[in-house]
């Protein structure tokens, strides 16, 4: 009753932090990202546990929630998890390895040896997966049982409430929605805008995973130098001019030669007549 809503109360905030770490190129499942996320999760978990526990005390148990219930539950749950989770991980790993070994042995029997691969994969998965799931569920229930014992201790000494139900509902409702709602909405929106700006600022502009076959052609940028361009153009014009002059001179010479040649030919004809 306390653990489940507390997890879901904290998760949205934690995934926002996780996303910001990812955008910064830090993996939240590796060190140092993991350590940072766990550190930031402490106040979030204390708040989430406090809100969920107070709600359960008021709404379900009709008991006055003890002072700083969030902090108390957090350190006790942290201690429990620090001892329980490594043991549970060890047990689950052993069970998975053992179940896989046994199932692998079963399928080495002559009768099942020639089973096609797809059938064998699914059957093996169902067999060892069922054992692993049952053990995992048992371990999860074990943690929940022990956490329940932690919650029961303050509940046993808590003062019963005599307020009417409507007043209790209003009390636990106000744990989430403060009386100054415009202030909450303004703060919420401002935080949202800030996070969005931060997100787009830290995110890489181009892909952090470039394709091995994708080659960007280096762009050839030519710097335009006006003096050089002018000199080049003037040189070109001068060259063109001299070429034109040379052509004109050649043409004139050609025309002269033709005229004299024509005159010579006419004289020879006349002489022949």
């Amino acid at each position: 009753m306390v653990a489940w809503p507390a997890v879901w109360t904290g998760v949205p905030i934690k995934i926002v932090l996780g996303l910001l770490l990812l955008a910064m190129g830090v993996h939240p499942w590796e060190m140092p990202g993991l350590a940072l996320l766990l550190l930031l999760s402490i106040p979030i978990d204390i708040w989430a546990l406090g809100v969920s526990a107070r709600t359960v005390f008021l709404d379900r148990l009709h008991l006055e929630p003890p002072e700083s219930v969030g902090v108390t539950l957090w350190w006790q749950a942290a201690l429990l998890s620090a001892i329980y989770l490594p043991i549970a991980y060890g047990i689950e790993s052993q069970v998975v390895a053992g179940a896989k070994g046994v199932v692998g042995g079963i399928f080495e029997v002559e009768l099942l040896k020639n089973l096609p691969v797809p059938e064998r994969i699914s059957l093996e998965l169902v067999l060892w997966g069922s054992v692993a799931t049952v053990v995992l569920l048992g371990l999860a229930l074990g943690w929940l049982f022990l956490f329940g014992r932690i919650v029961q201790r303050p509940a046993a000494v808590a003062r019963p409430l005599t307020e009417p139900y409507q007043a209790l509902v209003r009390r636990w409702d106000l744990l989430r929605v403060p009386t100054d709602q415009p202030l909450l909405l303004t703060g919420f929106t401002a935080t949202g805008v800030l996070l969005v700006l931060l997100f787009w600022t830290v995110m890489p502009v181009t892909t952090p995973h470039p394709h091995e076959l994708y080659r960007k052609e280096p762009a050839k940028v030519e710097v335009f130098k006006p003096t050089e361009a002018l000199q080049k153009t003037e040189k070109l014009i001068a060259q063109a001019e001299s070429a034109v002059k040379a052509l004109e001179a050649k043409a004139k010479q050609g025309a002269k030669g033709k005229t004299s040649a024509k005159g010579g030919a006419r004289g020879a004809g006349e002489r022949a007549r």
């Binding site: 995934i15 926002v16 096609p116 994969i121 997100f199 502009v205 952090p208 995973h209 394709h211 994708y214």
Partner: protein
């Protein structure tokens, strides 16, 4: 100054007089939610949110994407490598499509387990099933567009499965491919279906789905007497709206995180030669693909049974469910067949999907 309406109030009054804004707002937000707001009711709103985001990111991608066999791959690579934040928008769009499938499954499961498909909500359920089909079609048609080996061969496999459908299969496969092998015609047709036909159909059907939902009203929790439910009845605003916003935010952040963790990286450009690549469909069709590998489903008949008859039969069963299950009992713990059936289907999908992933290692 006091007593005089402000400029903003005047604008609102002007629009309200012509549009009926306040009536619309009252209708939208003052919807009674029997038994109070719940986290279990957020899936429908989340689906709408994901779809809107898919439209937005899809439009942004279309500014650069070229739907031709010669340029589709290059333009997608350009989006990833050159366009500012293009890699992120594309990866968001890719993971958004997966999120939509997951959310459709969650929404359908919630409606099924809550018994909310029963009278008088049969039509809402039927239109929901049609929307489910559209979401799958979105995934199938969008998968081809990057035009890499994965896209090309997933489409080839999908169209081959479709080809096995009696009567319409051959026509559908020929219509979609537009030739003997996937090529320019296939890409053009998939593109048009993906960006024009499916969005229009989805918007129309989603509108009808919402209209019918508002007409029938929320089913409410399956436990508790009518009197208890009435006492705890809440309005859609603010509690359910707040839960919806938080859920949408969580979905958005999750999709963004996936875009960072596993961004879209293309394989080689599509060719009719698979080379070393082992063709397989998108992850949400993997269970079906793995079923087709089983010996029991080998041969023409077997392939037809696993690829067409079972999925089609299951959809027909789901469509006729409100008319078969006419008992007014909605509590899932008093409907053992429904509960066991749901668990079996979900476990089956999970086992075959994981098996397909393990099978990949054997092939590699």
């Amino acid at each position: 100054m006091s007593g005089q309406p402000s400029a903003l109030e005047k604008v609102v009054a002007f629009v309200d007089e012509r549009v009926g804004l306040k009536t619309l707002q009252a209708k939208m937000l003052n919807e009674p939610v029997p038994g109070g707001s719940r986290w279990a009711y957020v899936f429908g709103s989340c689906l709408l949110f994901i779809f809107i985001m898919q439209v937005v990111t899809g439009i942004l991608l279309m500014f650069y994407y070229v739907p031709s066999a010669d340029h589709a791959y290059a333009s997608t690579q350009y989006i990833i490598h050159e366009v500012d934040y293009g890699w992120f928008i594309l990866s968001y769009h890719f993971w958004g499509s997966s999120a939509m499938v997951v959310m459709v499954f969650a929404h359908m499961s919630q409606v099924f387990l809550w018994g909310a498909y029963k009278k008088p909500r049969e039509l809402i359920w039927l239109i929901g099933l049609a929307l489910f089909g559209l979401v799958m079609a979105f995934g199938f048609t969008g998968y081809l567009l990057p035009w890499d080996q994965r896209a090309y061969w997933a489409t080839t496999v999908g169209v081959e499965i479709m080809d096995k459908t009696p009567l319409v299969g051959d026509f559908m496969a020929r219509f979609l491919k537009g030739g003997p092998t996937p090529g320019q015609m296939t890409l053009s047709r998939f593109f048009v279906i993906h960006v024009m036909i499916l969005p229009a159909a989805l918007m129309g059907l989603a509108g009808l789905h919402l209209f019918l939902f508002r007409k029938a009203g929320p089913a409410g929790p399956f436990r508790g007497s009518a009197e208890e439910l009435r006492a705890r009845t809440d309005y859609f605003f603010p509690r359910q709206v707040w839960k919806d916003i938080v859920a949408m935010g969580a979905v958005f952040v999750t999709i963004c995180s996936l875009a960072f963790i596993e961004p879209v990286v293309l394989l080689e450009e599509a060719t009719p030669d698979p080379g070393d690549y082992h063709p397989e469909p998108e992850w949400y069709f993997l269970f079906l693909f793995q079923m087709l590998r089983l010996k029991i489903f080998s041969g023409e008949l077997g392939q037809f049974v696993a690829g067409v008859a079972i999925p089609l039969g299951f959809m027909v069963f789901l469509a006729s469910l409100p008319f078969i299950d006419r008992s007014p009992e909605r509590n899932i713990f008093k409907r053992p067949i429904a509960l066991i059936g749901w668990l079996l289907v979900m476990t089956g999908i999970l086992v075959f999907t994981v098996s397909a992933i393990i099978n990949r290692e054997f092939l590699d």
